[in-house]
């Protein structure tokens, strides 16, 4: 009975919302307003050229997440989402996602960095094939920001190949509470904190999930994680990490860096972009370095199932957006403080050239190098070592539970092994719930 009702609703909904209606396009707003605006203008350009009507909205992610859930659950969806941080795995599981393999071919499959095509190569539930269901908008690069003036005062220099260990040393040297804290890493419930945790877990040799079955998260409750948690706990105790970092939300580390309170932090290019725009005094004293493996943000574009004609139009639009690769690169990278680096090798080469020519003085190294080498991963979508984007990890990321459960390490002096076990149990429970 319920199936009939659902079917009826779906038919009505499809009929009402898709027949002859303009394409509904959502743009999740990334930090850099000009990029959102440029995307919108490009879409309108395409609409004029092709005569297809569009309804474009730029939506903050505080609003978008609920709207997306609603859309997927009630199966009344927009046609495309740009800059979506999550949702493609959920859409796929609901049978609402459309493969984009032909768009990839049109854009030149060889011009993509392998990393760009691996992230969202998901298993098609019907055929069992791995298909590209979403294309990353760019690689939202996670940099480590360093105050070069404080570094110099501490008598240190950025080495050729910086490592996490070096960073901790530098942080300790620059640490001067309460004016300046050395290691301003996010450790509270936030996307930033999960990205940092992912990076650290890789580095220490641990992992999140090995398989999508209960028990797949046992790998989390292992020695590397215990060591990592012990080290983090100590850093917090020694006040290298600011005491209030446990209550930071996603923008607090940005603000704290711009307030001059922390000497280092992890963040994508948004801090630099904001500082450049405001002529912030710290711009000349900031270097953004890359410590592999790079944790990437997951902004991507994907298309929702509707009718073959609409889907074809959507895919044409997606192609059109990326097609002028040069302009796209300028809008998302060059002008945006290298917030997003290109997914195309041809454009990546230009970035490298520009870097060599000294056009990005705030960068400590060429960001395309680790990308080309594949020394990067998507920290909030793809659990290591499982390697494929999955809704379990998306849920873990967007619910901030993992980082929230790390809280007791800092505020309650909890035993790292206990915390690791709790998190691993929680992840296993999510895996079990998924299977049911």
């Amino acid at each position: 009975m319920r199936r009939l009702l659902a079917l009826g609703l779906i038919i009505v909904a499809f009929g009402l919302t898709t027949w002859g209606q303009p394409l509904e396009i959502w743009i999740r707003s990334v930090y850099y307003p000009p990029f959102n605006e440029w995307l919108k203008s490009k879409i309108l350009e395409w609409s004029e050229q092709t005569g297809v009507e569009v309804d474009v909205s730029i939506i903050s992610d505080y609003l978008l997440d609920e709207k997306l859930i609603n859309a997927i659950e009630t199966r009344v969806t927009p046609d495309i989402i740009f800059n979506a941080e999550s949702g493609v795995t959920l859409a796929l599981e609901a049978g609402l996602a459309v493969p984009l393999e032909d768009v990839v071919d049109r854009l030149g499959r060889d011009d993509f960095y392998p990393l760009a095509l691996q992230a969202y190569a998901l298993t098609d539930p019907e055929t069992g094939q791995k298909l590209v269901y979403a294309i990353p908008m760019f690689f939202e690069f996670g940099y480590w920001y360093i105050r070069t003036d404080l570094l110099k005062a501490a008598g240190m220099e950025i080495p050729e190949q910086p490592t996490w260990e070096w960073l901790v040393e530098a942080a300790k040297a620059m640490n001067n509470p309460p004016e300046v804290y050395g290691l301003g890493i996010p450790i509270s419930p936030s996307y930033d904190a999960l990205n940092v945790l992912s990076f650290l877990l890789y580095h220490y040799g641990g992992g999140f999930i090995t398989e999508l079955a209960p028990g797949g998260a046992d790998i989390f409750n292992t020695e590397p994680t215990w060591r990592l948690f012990e080290d983090l706990k100590q850093l917090y105790k020694d006040k290298i990490i600011p005491p209030d970092a446990v209550s930071w939300t996603d923008f607090d580390n940005n603000l704290s860096y711009m307030e001059g309170r922390i000497a280092t932090t992890w963040n994508p290019g948004s801090i630099m972009g904001a500082m450049l725009k405001q002529n912030h005094p710290l711009v000349p004293y900031t270097k953004m370095i890359a410590i592999p493996p790079i944790s990437l943000g997951g902004e991507c574009v994907f298309v929702f199932k509707s009718t073959p004609e609409r889907e074809a139009k959507c895919k044409d639009l997606v192609y059109y957006i990326f097609a002028d690769k040069e302009t796209y690169r300028v809008k998302s990278a060059d002008e945006a403080g290298l917030y997003g680096v290109p997914i195309f090798k041809s454009q990546g080469a230009i970035i490298s050239q520009k870097y060599e020519a000294g056009e990005f003085p705030f960068l400590g190294s060429d960001p395309m190098v680790p990308i080309a080498r594949g020394e990067a991963f998507f920290g909030t979508n793809v659990p290591y070592p499982y390697g494929e984007a999955t809704s379990v990890f998306e849920a873990a990321a967007s619910s901030f539970q993992i980082t929230a459960m790390m809280g007791p390490l800092f505020i309650k002096d909890a035993d790292p092994k206990q915390v690791a076990q709790d998190i691993s149990l929680w992840l296993n429970a999510r895996l079990a719930a998924r299977g049911s």
């Binding site: 909904a13 730029i58 903050s60 609603n70 307030e259 912030h280």
Partner: protein
């Protein structure tokens, strides 16, 4: 003794007034200071003083590439709030009258049922509501939101007005009935004028409740030209970047219509309005 009362009064007002002022003061400081200065220098007063945040609001450079003035969401909110207030106060007056003045079976059940709208957190019911919205075809419309907001305002109006109606002394109502009025005439001619402060208050709050709603607007409205003020404010948060200055400016501008409504309506309340009613 009268003087001491006056002094206590002033002290209490001042203390509470200062505490209330603190966030308002900060909102003003942040909205009148250029963004870069606010973050780095943390000034205690706007220096340099600038109107750029407000200008940006009206020039359409406030949200994530909005291109339209902030007045558009304000207009949307006004449409929804006014429409909903008229609807819910009317409906509430009728229901409250029955609950306060009449006896009938199922009175308790019905009045309790109305409060069931507040029972579950909105985001649990939002998915079911979305089904309803689509089925009715009212998604992305302002008038659809007017209807949906009843879920917030009608229970409030019903119960609040019931409270005010209950405080009308029985003699007044009986006097009206004896004079040969129908129930409805008694309501219009006697009860409402006597409880006018309460009705005005209920209307004011119904307006503000509708004005501030975020979640129902979120699930109903899709395209950004239809957004209401709360949604527009949230839209100024982009990832980990918040346009503090414009957000506070928007908060200030967005608070003006409710204040204005409050002033408009409060002028109609005269203290002691009810004083002579019984004798008259």
């Amino acid at each position: 003794m009268k003087n001491r009362g006056g002094v206590t009064r002033t002290v209490v007002l001042l203390v509470i007034g200062l505490v209330v002022a603190l966030p308002i003061y900060w909102a003003f400081v942040v909205s009148f200071t250029p963004p870069a200065v606010v973050l780095f220098k943390k000034p205690l007063y706007p220096s340099p003083f600038t109107l750029e945040n407000y200008v940006a609001l009206f020039a359409g450079e406030w949200g994530p590439g909005s291109g339209y003035s902030f007045l558009l969401p304000v207009r949307n909110s006004i449409i929804v709030a006014v429409g909903n207030t008229l609807l819910s106060v009317t409906v509430g007056i009728l229901a409250a009258y029955a609950l306060a003045m009449m006896q009938f079976r199922g009175k308790r059940a019905l009045s309790t049922f109305v409060l069931f709208a507040y029972v579950f957190p909105p985001f649990i019911i939002m998915i079911a509501l979305r089904y309803l919205i689509t089925w009715l075809g009212i998604n992305d419309t302002l008038y659809g939101l007017i209807l949906l907001h009843c879920v917030i305002t009608v229970p409030y109006c019903t119960w609040m007005l019931r409270a005010y109606f209950l405080s009308v002394p029985k003699d007044i109502e009986e006097a009206a009935m004896v004079d040969g009025c129908t129930r409805f005439q008694a309501l219009i001619r006697v009860i409402l004028p006597v409880t006018l402060p309460g009705v005005i208050t209920a209307a004011t709050f119904a307006f503000t409740l509708s004005w501030q709603d975020l979640i129902l607007a979120l699930i109903t409205l899709d395209t950004d030209v239809n957004y209401t003020v709360p949604m527009a404010l949230v839209n100024m948060i982009q990832g980990d970047f918040i346009q503090w200055g414009k957000l506070m400016a928007g908060a200030v501008v967005g608070a003006l219509p409710p204040i204005f409504v409050y002033y408009l309506l409060q002028r109609h309340i005269v203290s002691g309005l009810t004083a002579g009613a019984v004798k008259g």
